[in-house]
Symmetry: C2
Subunit: 221 residues, 2 copies
């Protein structure tokens, strides 16, 4: 049986990616990170999703003492790109964590090599996204060369099956794959209910609306 490491954040995209990998016949090992994000709500979601999917769950704690992102620094206000013309001008919102996906993929690569896995799945998405450079197809392509050159086996492939899908397409795919959407958490803030205002909430709402599917996560709280 093919084996894969799946980066699982607890959000809609990574949960859909996990169920996609399972549907493709991979035995999935889920990997999540506690990297000092504003809330641990999404970590609990990730763990619940892994359990529901019947997959092993591994949480790593990492420390990024240099901050520089509103997701890590509680003194910074989460500025949105969707609602703020100012952020729009600057292109990349202040929720960007420097090289976050690079770090996540590096641990996944180490894990994959230690486990003899064939693939790493990441829910990166370049369409309805927030402009992060490490969510683009060219980044994934570049990382694939690192995976090939930097490991003993050179067989591990990075797969980003959602990278060219719209949020609408992702929600539709998730429904088809029976992803437990009510367990996913997308909001950048960690309140008991999604804020509905941050980039992540706005994109999620748009996706569900366009797919014509009710978002149970809003009701579940």
């Amino acid at each position: 049986m093919k084996k894969a490491i799946v980066l699982l954040s607890g959000g809609l995209d990574s949960a859909t990616t996990l169920y996609y990998a399972k549907a493709k016949g991979y035995k999935c090992l889920c990997l999540g990170f506690d990297y000092g994000q504003r809330h641990v709500r999404e970590i609990k979601s990730a763990q619940a999703i892994a359990r529901r999917a019947g997959c092993r769950w591994q949480l790593l704690k990492i420390n990024l003492p240099w901050k520089g992102s509103a997701l890590l620094d509680k003194r910074m206000k989460v500025r949105t790109i969707v609602n703020s013309p100012w952020s729009m001008v600057h292109g990349i919102p202040n929720t960007y964590v420097p090289a976050r996906n690079t770090i996540f993929l590096s641990f996944a690569l180490s894990y994959a090599e230690a486990e003899g896995a064939d693939a790493i799945f990441i829910g990166a998405n370049a369409v309805d996204y927030s402009g992060y450079p490490d969510c683009r197809p060219r980044f994934i392509e570049a990382y694939n060369r690192v995976a090939a050159e930097g490991t003993k086996q050179s067989k591990i492939r990075i797969k980003a099956p959602l990278i060219n899908k719209s949020k609408k397409e992702i929600v539709t795919l998730a429904a088809r794959l029976r992803v437990p959407l009510e367990l996913t958490w997308s909001c950048y803030k960690g309140a008991s209910r999604p804020c509905g205002q941050c980039d992540s909430c706005v994109l999620r709402k748009k996706g569900f609306r366009e797919a014509g599917i009710t978002d149970k996560a809003w009701k579940a709280e």
Copy 2:
């Protein structure tokens, strides 16, 4: 003034790389890792070298729960490539830590982006080395594309100035740059004196001998 992140392990190569970067006019921020290696002796060396060089020192603790290397797993015996025909056949010795340099570079990339640094220096070496895949020029080249594609600024370059140098050339360069060689630590084992038997010790001794320089680290203990 140009700014660089320097990966500093406390060994001969990374210390020489730090002094090389300083000589090239970079303000250097040193980054080291406590990743569960067998001993913390090399971390203390790294810290002492950074202090001597007058550079900021940042230590990150990371956890690789999947082990798979004699450097992480105390139950495994450090097998050498230099002295063991068996290991030689297999090409890569069991001190290899899966994707270690990939992980180190990823944190350095995040740090570099947060600090607005221009370069990352790594003491990787492909000549008198132990056959690790993530020490080859092609790996550094691949990583440079990740750095360009995965960051906002796209200006950060990975520099591995020692990559094509022999240990003899490194020792000669270190002496010229006045690297405090007596503070460096190369041995894979963490005793009070270098073991003299492991790959790292054997390569170091060979380098000093061929350069015609006395290794004070052996006397300092």
